[in-house]
Amino acid sequence: MNEHSFFFTAMIYLAAAVVCVPVAKKLGLGSVLGYLLAGIFIGPDVMGFIGAEGQDILHFAEFGVVMMLFLIGIELEPALLWKLRAPIIGMGGMQVLITTALITGLALWLGQPLRAALALGMTLSLSSTAIVLQSLKEKGLMPSAAGQSSFSVLLFQDIAVIPMLAIFPLLAPPGAAAMEGHSLRDGLPGWAQTLIVLGAVVLIILAGRYLVRPLMRVVARARVRELFTTFALLLVVGISVLMTVVGLSPALGAFLGGVVLANSEYKHELESDIEPFKGLLLGLFFIAVGASIDFGLILSQPWRMLGLVIALMTVKCLVLLALGRLFRLSTDQNLLFGFSLSQVGEFAFVLLSFTHQSGILPADTTSMMTAAVALSMAFTPLVIMVYEKLLQPRFTITESAAREPDAITEKHPVILAGFGRAGNIIGRFLLANGVRTTILDLDSDRIDLLHNLGIQAYYGDASRHDLLQAAGAADAKVIIIAADSIDQTTEIVKVVRKHFPNLQMLVKAESISDVFDLMELGVLHIYRESLDTSLRMGADALRMLGYRAYHAQRAAGTFRQHDEKALKELSALRDDKKTYLHTFKERIEEIARLINRDNVKPWNNETVSWDESSLIEEAKKE
């Protein structure tokens, strides 16, 4: 491979990844599928940029898997494992065992030899950590029962890969030249072979404890950033070489090395150094997998392909549903659990390429299975969507779905949208002053409680035009918006602006970014929930330090004016981007900017009030 063709190939791969991954993510398919699509696109069946050398790259990129296992090892937290031991071993263990058994049985029934059937069973029992965790996190479902169960099962699967990698070489038919190269074990008697393997494992553990840590200290002390990266790479490569020499799986050794170093003080440096290489190589690996799929074969029998995928996912899903029932998940959670884990994971690609090389499975079967796995992954977002749209509403008793808005029978000059902490104080205050309000709230428990207390409040979404109409918005003078979330608040504001411009809006905000959002919507009267309380506490602190009460009171009042003015100025300076303030760091920066303003601008005129020094000056001159 000359230099030009190397750079050309690199360019093709990188460009394909850069184009396809963002598109796949945008479509909700996740990055793994993006890489696969990139591979298919540049592969022999579509564009034909890469041909036979795709196989070489697959070999090289498999090193990404080794790195991934090193990272899994280093990230294993014994405390977390212990806490989740019941679901991990119970649910995870049973899922892997039962699914493996079922799929192996199916494969045998379809006429596969035992070795191949076992390999397929183990391979296809795994689910996709990357896809499932990503989509559950995106939907905020991680803390749910289904989310936690999914996490436990995925964790067990990640660990289960290690023994699988150890078992697979044993499944290789004796004749096939299994591993590349020759290992030290060749031609040795059985007991010596065992001894060498054990010795290598002990070597890794001892070296990790007593050699690598002091070495890392030396390397770290050199204070050359890239030297540490170099060392981290050397570590993983070294383990791989050692394992290959003794004829064991490099991935297994890397995992072990990771576990040994998990509680070293350089854990996080190692992680962050290896992470980008892992990401790059795994991306390359998935591209190579995509490029190696034989589309001619698949397109020749599309129905068989589709049937295979659906059968696979159904089997996996049924096993999961049974387990969920056994572990007492509620119906809706169980469905989510079963549906989201029903695909086959990215590790299947690793195991499939291994089975192909070691001759466990013939090339056309691996091609077929690789495509099936990829399709099952592609179906996952669709499957979760089916769950959300069709199944969840039936099995989840959500208040908002079950309860119709109340009929509103009274009309008052003030509509109070949201009767939470702030809303109930406002309502009480107004009532104490003889002003009745029409109370709307989305929390049905709260509404029922108010009814029990004899207070008339109405259940309903105040951002609905018809509900506001019924609440007398057309004739009311003021609407006080004190909803629980900023999203609800902005919805209500928009509807009021559009349909009831006669209403004066008083809007409660929580954070500074809420204030900015509301300012952008043109709201004039914005009240930050914490501002007055905080200033009162600050003023009382001044009093306790011996300041005069009146001074403290005025200082707080002046500060509030200054703060509101500064916010308005910052809002004018702010970017129009909606997402601007949403990360924590940016919020901190915003506060820092406000504090700077406090320092630069003399906000407190208190020093000038009632000052007689200029009068005294003048009197003395006379």
């Binding site: 300041y547 005069r548 009460a549 009146y550 001074h551 403290a552 009171q553 005025r554 009030s609 009632w610 000052d611 007689e612 009068l615 005294i616 003048e618 009197a619 003395k620």
Partner: protein, 194 residues
Amino acid sequence: MTRILILFAHPALERSRIHAGLIHSIRDLQGVTLHDLYEAYPDLNVDPDREQELLLRHDIILLQHPFYWYSAPAIIKQWQDLVLEHGWAYGHSGTALQGKLLGNVISTGGMQSAYVRGGHHGYTIREFLLPFEQTARLCNMTYLPPFVIHGTHRMEQPDMPYCCKQYRQMLEGLRDDRYTPGALAEAVYLNELM
């Protein structure tokens, strides 16, 4: 023993020289209640019930304050508006304050010579204090001559102890009924009686 209530009003006591010294010197005085209005009501939200009850428990009411713009700081006016209710302090049935004494204890930046007809300020202190005097009359109270500390803008540190001592003595005199009604009616400033 006559009980004295001092309604004290200074919006920036931390910057005051005279009044800080004055109230410090009388804190331990028997029979004298010092009521710091700005400290009690920093939001100017004066509580009429509490104030009326305080008034009923005392015989002499002194308004102590700097003489801002020929009058008192804002909280004194707020106090008058809220506490001296019709039907309680004045009017046909308003006799709660009958027979009590009301007076001002003030400090001015200018010298006494500025407060004369044709002087820098054009009128006398007694003339400027007419609204208070008439307030006392309307509430069936007797108005005392004011206790005045003039020339605070030119006052030097060594003069302070003298003012404080004079103030304390004056309060003791009032408390112990040392001044005859005739002498009180005749005096222009309370300071003269010492």
